[in-house]
Each structure stands twice: as C-alpha cells, then as structure tokens.
C-alpha cells in the first residue's frame, strides 16, 4: 500500500491483524498503511470485507490481535482503560450509519454527551453544542428530540456530536447509508466543509461511489486486506 502520508501521518498501522472465531476468520489481515493529517480517505469494499472492523480499530472500540496501530500519537495496542476513554473522547469522532442519538435527549443535549467528563463547564458544553448546531444549520431544532427530526437532521446532529470535542480524526461508517440521495448529498457537502475548515482527518467507510468521489484517496478492501488504492477520479472510472 502506498504511503501518501510520510512523516505527517496521523494514523499508521503495521502488520495489523484482527481475527474472530479463534483465528478462523481474519477480519483484518496484515494491513500496513499511513494516513496524513487532514486527508479525506474513503474505504470501499463488499459487505464483510473488514471495513467496519477497521473503523472500530481506529476508534479504539475494538482491539487488534497483532501488529501496531498508532493514531495521533496513541498506540492503540497497549493503552490503559483511562487512556482509551480519553482517546475516544478527544482524538476521534464517530458517525454511525444509524445516527445512534440518545432518544430521550434533545439535539442540543445529544451534542453535549461526549463532553461530559471533559473539563468543560456545563455552560461551556452548552455553548459549544450551540455553536455546532448553528454550524450545521439546526439552531431552530436544538430542543427537538430525535424522534421528531428527519433522517438527515438526525445524521447532522450525529456529526455535530462527533465534532464536539474537536477530534483530530473523524470516522464515519456509511454516514449516508440510511438517507435518500438528495439528503445524502447535502450531508456530504457538510462533512466536506467541516473537514476542510477544521483540517480534520476524515475516514469514511462506504459503499457509496459519491462519497468516494469526494475523497482524496479511495482504499478498496477485500477479505480483510487492501486490494488496491485509487484517487477519486480513478474510482469514478471503475
């Protein structure tokens, strides 16, 4: 796999392996890669190829069985519980395919959830959540519960939540998967814009060629391995 990151790498992996069922299923099979700060990477591949497992490893919600994985200076192999919590809270932001907002909290409160446990005061948390909702155009929906928000609005709130603690890496798993194409496009515009403005590294797992089209690099996975890499223009031609 080519190294586009050089010394500017925010993510680097060597010999990364994650297997299930006592080693019979290799979800991630000996991956080496680097991702530079501020890159927009799309990871594509068929279902079961290991995309989500890779994303979970990068988010430190799953642990590799072998190899090394460093994200923003954290070695994800041997972090303590407290370090893992801090990493999840401050280094990465996660956007899921299904928004996964807490149903009893308003949009404004959902955005504040990752900030609980940080050293921000309640007033600062509130202000930050307000800013993010303003940024994603949901000021008027701040006090709405997820049940009354549209699919696109929920996903925008989920993005705001992921950005709450100003993460260095934003990870998104099929962020438009549950949206219609028009809403999905708008969401991608937003993600694009936020990523450029905040110079956040954006890694998106997707089946959607439109997302890949916007990415700087597209990595194709099969059976837990990177099979080839293309840029967005190449990807469209395929």
């Amino acid at each position: 796999m080519s190294d586009n990151a050089g010394s500017n790498a925010v993510v680097s992996a060597r010999g990364l392996v994650r297997y299930y069922e006592q080693g019979r299923v290799h979800a991630i099979d000996d991956l080496d890669f680097e991702i530079a700060t501020g890159e927009f990477i799309a990871i594509r591949g068929p279902s079961g190829c290991g995309k989500t497992t890779l994303l979970n490893l990068l988010a430190a919600i799953d642990r590799p069985d072998r190899g090394t994985l460093n994200v923003a200076g954290y070695s994800l192999i041997d972090m303590s519980g407290a370090e893992i919590n801090e990493f999840r809270r401050t280094v990465v932001g996660l956007v899921f395919q299904l928004h996964n907002l807490l149903p009893d909290l308003t949009a404004l409160e959902n955005v504040q959830v990752p900030m609980l446990g940080t050293n921000r005061s309640p007033r600062q948390r509130h202000r930050r959540a307000r800013e993010l909702l303003d940024r994603i155009g949901l000021t008027q929906r701040a006090h709405a519960l997820p049940t009354v928000l549209s699919g696109g609005e929920r996903q925008r709130v989920a993005i705001a939540r992921a950005l709450a603690n100003e993460p260095r890496v934003l990870l998104a798993d099929e962020p438009t998967g549950a949206l219609d194409s028009k809403t999905g496009e708008r969401l991608l515009d937003l993600l694009d814009e936020l990523q450029r403005d905040a110079k956040t590294t954006l890694i998106v797992v997707t089946h959607d060629p439109h997302i890949a089209q916007r990415a700087g690099r597209v990595i194709h996975m099969l059976d837990g391995r990177f099979v080839f890499e293309s840029d967005a223009a190449d990807d469209l031609r395929m």
Partner: protein
C-alpha cells in the same frame, strides 16, 4: 442568547431515563415504597411504644419501677404490697414507694380495658395531672385517662360500668404516657377485690432522694432483694417484658423482607433497562464515557427510584401508622411518634437498597463492549 439552562448533566440524563418509562419507574418505585411504608409505619409505632414505656416508668416523676423478678411479662408481676413497701422504704435513698395494680377487665362494651389500682391517698402524689374534675375520695369513684375518656366517650359526672358495677367518673387526667392515659384509675383495694388479688400489686413506683443516684439505688434493691427487678429506663424494660423487644425484632424482620423484595424489584428493572439500552450504552462508551460514569448513571437511576419510593411511601406509612393507632384496643396504647428519625431511616434504607439492587445491572452495563453493543439490535 441561550442561558445555559439546557446544559446536560449526569443528573439530567438520569432523570430523563427515569421519565422515559414512567409506568415502569412508578411500579418499581411502588415496589420499594412497600418497604418504605413498612419502615415508616412500624418504626413510628414502635418508637411511640418505647416513648410510652419510658413515660410510664417516670410517671408521677418516679425514677424507678420495681417488678417481681423472673417473670415473662410485666403484667404477671405480683408483689405483696405491705412486705414489698417495707423492703423498699428500708433502702437508703428511697423517698417513697407507691404500689400499683395493673389489671384488665370488661368495661362497658369493651371486652378488656386497662385498669390501674392506686390507693386514694397516692392519687396525684407525684404531681397534678388532672385536667378536669377532682381526685376520687371513695371506692365507687374513678379517674379516666385522656385516651380512655376519648375511647369510652365518657366525661366527668358520667357513670361507667366495670364488670357491670357502676362507677362515677370524677376526673380526667393526662400524663406523658399513652399507656397510662388509656387506663381507668380506681382505688387499689377495690381493684384487688375485683381481680381477686387481695394484698398484691403489680409494680412499685419508687421516688429516689434527689441527692442519691437512681441507678445505684436500683442496683442496691436488686442486690438486697434478688426477687425484685428495678427498671429505670425503657432500654432496661426487657428485664421484665420481652414483648417490646419481640415487637421490635418482628418489625425489623418485616421491614427487612419488604425492603429486600423492593431491592430485587429494582435489580430486575435496572437489569431490563440495561439490556434495553445496550446499544445506547455502547454509544456512550464509544464516545469516551468511562465505565465509572456508566455505573454512576445506573446507580443514580436506582437512587432516583429509591427517592421516588420514599416520596410515595412516607405519606402512606404515616397513614398506615395513624390507621393502626386508631383501631379498637390499639387506640388505648398506640401513639406513633412522627419525628424525623423514621423518615430519614426510610430514605437511607430505600436509597441504599435500591442502589444495592442496581449493582449487578450496573456491573453488566460497565462490561458492555462498545463494538458488540453497536452491533446489538
């Protein structure tokens, strides 16, 4: 500009989680509230009983009550009036000793009513508790305690029948003891005849010389006369009657069982709640919540259930205690004491045991792997 009124806190999240399933929260709280009702009702009643015992010991400013030793219940104490008085007054420090016979007889339409026999000259000897009328001067005159007056619905100058014999009510008194206030006071020799206990009394009220230590006098009485027992405080009452201690134990056993059941209900509810929220808890873990914070959230929810249970259970407990104390017979000797103690106790026990019930669910919640939880449907 938003004021910050919607700042998210752990407490706010907890409240939302409780509010999310109002019926389930209410039913769980009701389960715990049963224990709270038991604690409040029983504790206020038992506290009232203990206070009444204490007041009975110190009736008419007496320092000691003297009973027969080795008896199963205070009512069974039988002392020879003349002989025991002589023994007691021979002890240094005993100012005087007043013999009292306790008995229960049919009065009006009550099958049994508490009757106190006191010599006419001893009535009012320890202070004036009379609130109406005068003290009896003959065998066929009686005093009524304030509670007895209410229960019998009689007053001064009315006639009442004890074993079908008429007696004139000449006065109403009020002491600090609900036991004594629930009694009819009659001339001692008359009661001894009615009870076929001529020459006997149940107990002696002993007034101790103010310069002497009442405990030391009590110990001296017991040392010199092993057939006698001296009681100076309610906590010593078990020496002559195990009933109150047994009631105390029973009350705690019932309250404990009710609370344990409440705790199991909380455990079940919180377990279900954690299972239902597996995915949400996984999300919280994925966004950086520590295990401790997850545990805190579950524990706070359980404490919230305990708190709601106290809000529901305390008024019901007060109601139950009042209802119990107004029942026939019970109204003669039950007077629940509603000070802060029972309520604080109920609050503490309800919250502690609700939290205890939530420990296992909280442990399970803390063990949820975010990667697995996010796959959970």
């Amino acid at each position: 500009m938003d004021s910050g009124g919607s700042s998210l806190t752990l407490l706010r999240m907890t409240t939302r989680n409780l509010y999310r399933r109002p019926m389930r929260t209410s039913l769980t709280a009701l389960g715990v509230a049963v224990g709270v009702v038991a604690i409040v009702a029983f504790t206020t009643i038992v506290r009232g009983l203990w206070d009444a015992v204490d007041a009975s010991i110190h009736i008419n400013d007496a320092e000691l009550l003297i009973f027969q030793a080795d008896i199963a219940a205070d009512f069974l104490s039988t002392l020879d009036e003349k002989e025991t008085r002589a023994k007691l007054t021979a002890i240094t420090g005993v100012e005087n000793a007043v013999g009292t016979l306790w008995h229960a007889l049919p009065v009006e339409n009550h099958l049994l009513f508490f009757i106190l026999g006191l010599r006419l000259e001893d009535m009012g000897s320890g202070g004036d508790n009379l609130i109406r009328g005068r003290y009896p001067t003959s065998d066929d005159e009686v005093l009524l305690g304030a509670v007895a007056q209410r229960v019998l619905d009689k007053d001064v100058d009315n006639t009442l029948h004890i074993r079908d014999e008429p007696y004139r009510i000449v006065g109403i008194f009020q002491s600090e003891s609900v036991f004594i206030d629930g009694a009819i006071v009659i001339n001692l020799p008359r009661l001894q005849r009615l009870a076929a206990k001529e020459g006997s009394v149940t107990v002696f009220q002993v007034h101790v010389d103010p310069d002497k230590n009442a405990d030391a006098v009590g110990e001296e009485i017991e040392r010199r006369y092993p057939e006698l027992i001296a009681v100076g405080e309610a906590s010593e009452y078990h020496k002559v009657d195990q009933g109150l201690v047994a009631v105390d134990g029973m009350v705690w056993a019932v309250s404990f069982m009710a609370i344990v059941i409440g705790s199991i209900i909380v455990a079940n509810t919180m377990w279900m709640s954690v299972l239902e929220r597996t995915r949400e808890i996984g999300v919280l873990r994925a966004v950086g919540w520590s295990r401790r914070r997850i545990v805190s959230m579950i524990i706070l929810e359980a404490a919230g259930v305990g708190f709601i249970a106290v809000l529901l259970g305390c008024p019901a407990g007060v109601g139950l205690a009042k209802l119990s104390a107004s029942m026939p017979v019970a109204e003669q000797f039950l007077e629940p004491v509603f000070d802060t103690g029972p309520f604080l106790l109920a609050l503490a026990i309800a919250i502690v045991l609700s939290v205890f019930g939530a420990l296992l669910p909280a442990w399970r919640a803390a063990r949820i792997s975010p990667a697995e939880a996010l796959r959970y449907e």
